[in-house]
């Protein structure tokens, strides 16, 4: 049966990638359908109930700056807020929110329901129809055929999902949800390179059976930060604490004894798990010298006592999980509400994607989220936004838009995925961003909201807030560069007193604030910027402080742009290039870089090899012209 309406864009899946994809597509004006297995689980946090963290909150702020929903939902659902790396430089400062699962889901669902151009339909996609390598419709379990100009697939861990608890295993998506087996088979039959990855979760615990007096309390930060550029503290619900406990030698003994029952060690799981998120059995084996491991005890919500003990993800059999949990301080009488499990799922090599996240082999089909080998809500949401936007643009006959590495963490994410692929579930870290000093939380809106507005992603209300903010910042910058501190003036004396920095001659204020000891509050307390909001001043000072570094990076960016503009011809045969080492040749064949810039990011690449490539690229295009 044909679905009564056709759409510009269909988004499959209502997780974090699917939601941002559907919203972005609808925001820019495409008629969009969100097709999900269960409307109740739209915006569900299937792993731990936290949003943000180092590197990840950078993504969240960028999604926010482009009109996405993740940050505001986190503000509406956040029950515990912290600034991470507060003692470190502004570029690496991050925000982390513990969210109430129910409130978060509600906030997301509300945003989806209120979005114009967006319809929701509950059914399961089982098939797709191609017309000469171009997708034209999807079919559902109920026998519906829905036509669309473009389709975004965001099926998360549901694709061919297998769940492991000890030697028990069964097909399934996240606990409780069915796996998409038919779709997985269908996709595996397409010209896409599939692989298996693995991830895990810890057992959940009933908080009413936990002795909190034995745990270390970790309250949220005061003053409490917000996640969104539109966020206010008034949006936040009641706040609660997190707690910390540790495993101990006994826990490790129990785990060691049960290893022969662990599917990870018996070889039943073939997928590769993330190195930065190992299971507790992995940690105990690989770091045998440690006699304890930290556990963050995260509340699942305000209305539930269930806890998420972050740090003991496991696929051990239930009896071992039970015993291990009870060996932990504060958990002596703990009841497990849901066992931990490992889940193995299909993903497709993201090197088969264009930077727009459209698959290279099937036109108008876009992939976003875990299907591309990433992990994390934030990474998924970021891809969702890009895929949704570009699916809508493609359906309208417009060129794709993708941020570059120096413009956004989103750009780093997409470039890494599409050029390096994913050997393990890919997670964002700030160390992945070579332009880290400019890709900050505080300036995500300055970097992206103007272009987002142009693309149609940023609605009026958000843009108004942005305009006000950027005007104030501009005024602040101007005042900073206009002012000179006169020796022995009232201002000079007050500033010296506040900062402890001496002055020996008249100096521009801009030079004075470059001194490491000088901070925004010194200026305000000295009355220099008495009627400027300190947060604006603080932000203006960041650019001043990083100035020399940012300028050096500008040069690197210009260089990279040059390299990016040198396209390597598709027909270029790396085997034919004399002077390349076999190792590099293999890597190049594997990565198939599209530009010299892509090639430059390949591990082990040398300037000599790059100059060889550019010579060949030039020679090749020369040949083509004369031919």
């Amino acid at each position: 049966m044909k679905f009564p309406t056709a759409f510009d864009v269909i988004v499959i899946g209502g997780g974090h990638a699917g939601v941002e994809a559907a919203l972005a597509s609808a925001r820019v004006g495409a008629s969009t359908l969100l097709l999900t297995q269960a409307i109740e689980t739209i915006g569900q946090m299937s792993c731990n109930p936290a949003i943000g963290g180092i590197g990840k909150s950078h993504l969240v702020r960028e999604i926010d700056a482009l009109g996405g929903v993740m940050a505001t939902a986190a503000d509406k659902a956040g029950i515990h807020f912290r600034i991470l790396n507060n003692s470190k430089g502004p570029a690496v400062r991050a925000t982390r929110v513990q969210a109430d699962r129910v409130l978060y889901r509600n906030a997301i669902r509300q945003a989806v329901e209120r979005q114009s151009n967006l319809s929701v339909f509950q059914d399961m996609m089982v098939d797709l129809t191609l017309q000469s390598d171009r997708i034209c419709s999807v079919s559902t379990r109920l026998g519906m055929e829905i036509e669309a100009r473009a389709v975004v697939l965001t099926t998360g861990t549901f694709l061919g999902g297998r769940i492991f608890v000890g030697r028990e295993q069964h097909a399934g998506g996240r606990a409780g949800d069915p796996a998409s087996v038919e779709l997985a088979e269908k996709l595996r039959s397409l010209p896409l390179a599939a692989g298996r990855l693995k991830t895990g979760t810890p057992p959940r615990i009933d908080g009413s059976t936990v002795d909190f007096s034995k745990l270390e309390e970790q309250p949220g930060d005061e003053p409490r930060p917000v996640m969104s550029f539109l966020g206010t503290r008034e949006m936040h619900p009641r706040q609660v604490s997190c707690h910390i406990t540790h495993t101990n030698v006994r826990t490790h003994d129990i785990i060691r004894r049960a290893l022969d029952q662990s599917p990870m060690f018996t070889g039943e799981i073939e997928g590769v798990g993330p190195r930065y998120c190992p299971s507790i059995e992995d940690k105990v084996v690989r770091f045998a010298e440690r006699d304890q491991h930290q556990i963050f005890v995260e509340p699942e919500g305000l209305e539930t006592t269930e806890l998420y003990p972050n740090g003991i993800s496991t696929s051990l059999p239930f009896d071992a999980q039970y015993e291990a949990v009870r060996s932990i301080r504060g958990f002596e009488n703990a009841q497990i509400t849901r066992p931990g499990y490992a889940i193995e799922y299909d993903f497709f090599d993201p090197r088969g994607l264009l930077p727009s996240l459209e698959t290279k082999n099937i036109e108008n089909l876009f992939f976003a989220g875990q299907i591309n080998g990433t992990t994390g809500y934030e990474e998924a949401a970021a891809q969702g936004l890009v895929a949704g936007l570009n699916a809508a643009r493609k359906s309208a006959g417009l060129a794709a838009w993708v941020p570059q590495r120096h413009e956004a963490y989103i750009g780093v994410l997409i470039d890494d995925l599409t050029t390096m692929g994913a050997n393990e579930p890919y997670r964002m870290f700030t160390s992945r961003a070579e332009y880290r000093l400019r890709l900050r939380q505080d300036n995500a809106d300055l970097r992206l909201t103007p272009i987002g507005r142009e693309l149609g992603l940023v609605p009026d209300d958000r843009f108004k807030v942005f305009t006000t903010r950027s005007k104030k910042l501009e005024a602040c910058n101007e005042a900073l560069s206009r002012t000179t501190i006169r020796l022995n003036s009232d201002m000079a004396n007050k500033l010296s007193k506040a900062s402890g920095e001496r002055l020996s001659k008249d100096i521009p204020l801009l030079d004075f604030v470059k001194r490491p000891a000088v901070r925004a509050e010194h200026l305000t307390s000295a009355g220099v910027f008495a009627n400027t909001d300190e947060s604006y001043l603080a932000q203006a000072l960041i650019d001043v402080k990083y100035d020399g570094y940012l300028r050096r990076q500008d040069q690197a960016i210009a260089r990279a742009k040059d390299q990016m503009s040198i396209r390597l011809p598709d027909e270029l045969n790396f085997r034919e290039i004399d002077g390349l080492s076999n190792e590099l040749r293999e890597k190049l064949e594997h990565v198939q870089p599209r530009t010299l810039g892509n090639a430059a990011s390949i591990p082990g690449m040398t300037p000599a090899a790059l100059s060889l490539l550019s010579v060949y690229a030039k020679r090749y295009s020369g040949l083509r012209k004369t031919a």
Partner: protein, 436 residues
């Protein structure tokens, strides 16, 4: 499949032994043709080398290295004969008849590099070896070839990686219970790395100078003995020497080797006030020579009281107080950059030569690397970045320490190949227990 190549591998005109090397898929055919059999791999066999008509051309050792365990990675056949030029030529001639072609200079190495037998730094060192004129530069090139330069750079690269691992994990995994490095430890590691880099820069610069040599201009007032110095240093009468001021009107060159360090001497017209148009032109040329020289020998009369030092030039200036026989002062070094000489007898000149070697960063016999300009430039960027990192560390700006180390690592990568952030993360994950 590339063509089979062949060449005489020993220097021409050297008696005793002559080696013909063949690389490529035609080796077996050549062996059957010239030896009558294929020698067993990597075994020295004494045999006759014969022409197709059966005539014995020479006899000696045959060595066969099947691919890939050979210098070039291809099949390699080596014929070591007695080295008479005529015999070698006839052997090569017979081989060329087998559809083999003569190798271009450096082609064996190029193939070795292409087949992963050498890394880039080693291959470049071989190129230097081939191009190097002097024995000393040859030795420096050999050291890089055996991988010492690569080894040192890699060692440095590892150190930077390790330190970055700590600093980056303190940023990205601030919440984890891992042992971060204290500031003092970071500082001392930075200091260590800096002294390593600086030593590498010195050694590479020395190696580079050994190849390209030192450009030295002799300058000063007329009649102080500049041309006499040139002649003495060259050991020949290159320049006309007279008691008349203004004898040298044009620049004159002479090449000299100081223990293998190539030195190019330029004698210049005396600098003084004049309105003779020919002298003025000569002085203009002198100024050009001075501004481009690596080193200026500024000659004055030892009797001269007011020591008029020259303007600042690009190169280093050594002051030579000549005619010390007339003042009765002892010839020799007065300070690090000042010498007394007598150009008539040559007294004190050996000290001037030592001074020139100093300027070139010459290191006696042993530990220079065949540095390439781009290696040295990259190492200097590493040094700058490390010193900047140390500065930021002292004001406790962790992310800026990290930024400088990233730049240092990137510059090293220009020599040994880049380390990606993913490699760095891999190092972190394999060292620390990270993750919730």
């Amino acid at each position: 499949m590339s063509e089979t190549i062949c060449a005489v591998a020993t220097p021409p005109g050297r008696g005793g032994i002559g080696i013909v090397r063949i690389s490529g898929s035609a080796c077996q055919r050549v062996a059957r043709e010239l030896l009558g059999f294929i020698p067993s791999p990597r075994t020295a066999i004494h045999t006759d080398f014969c022409a197709p008509d059966g005539e014995t051309l020479d006899s000696g050792i045959a060595l066969y290295f099947p691919s890939p365990a050979s210098y070039t990675g291809e099949d390699v056949l080596e014929l070591q004969g007695h080295g008479s030029p005529i015999a070698l030529e006839r052997i090569v001639g017979c081989i060329l008849d087998q559809g083999v072609r003569l190798a271009n200079p450096g082609e064996f190495t190029e193939r070795a590099f292409r087949n992963d037998k050498l890394d880039l730094a080693q291959a470049e060192a071989v190129a230097d070896l081939i191009a190097s004129g002097s024995a000393e530069a040859g030795r420096a090139a050999t050291r890089s070839l055996t991988g010492e330069f690569s080894l040192r750079i890699r060692e440095l690269d590892q150190r930077v990686l390790k330190l970055r691992m700590f600093i980056e994990s303190a940023i990205d995994f601030a919440e984890e219970e891992i042992d971060f490095l204290g500031d003092t430890e970071q500082q001392s590691r930075l200091d260590e790395m800096r002294s390593l880099v600086e030593a590498l820069i010195d050694r590479s610069t020395a190696g580079l100078t050994m190849q390209i040599g030192l450009d030295v201009a002799i300058a000063g007032a007329p009649n102080v003995g500049k041309s006499s110095l040139l002649n003495r240093l060259l050991g020949e009468d290159r320049a006309i020497v007279t008691a008349t001021a203004g004898t040298t009107r044009d620049t004159l060159h002479g090449d000299l080797s100081l223990d293998g360090l190539p030195v190019r001497l330029t004698d210049t017209a005396g600098l003084h006030a004049s309105d003779d148009p020919i002298e003025l032109m000569g002085m203009e040329r002198a100024q050009t020579a001075l501004s481009t020289a690596d080193c200026v020998l500024w000659v004055i009369d030892d009797a001269d009281e007011n020591l008029s030092t020259p303007d600042m030039y690009r190169g280093k200036t050594l002051v030579v107080r000549n005619k010390c026989d007339l003042t009765g002062n002892t010839p020799g070094a007065v300070g690090k950059t000042e010498f007394r000489t007598c150009a008539l007898t040559g007294a004190g000149l050996s000290d001037v030569c030592e001074g020139l070697k100093q300027v070139a960063g010459f290191r006696a016999g042993t530990d220079a690397f065949a540095g390439r300009p781009r290696h040295i430039a990259a190492l200097k960027r590493v040094d700058d970045a490390l010193s900047q990192a140390a500065k930021e560390l002292s004001v406790r700006e962790g992310e800026l320490v990290a930024e400088n180390l990233r730049v240092a690592h990137e510059s090293l990568g220009e020599i040994v190949g880049i380390t990606t952030s993913d490699d760095l993360l891999g190092e972190i994950f394999s060292t620390f227990c990270i993750g919730k």
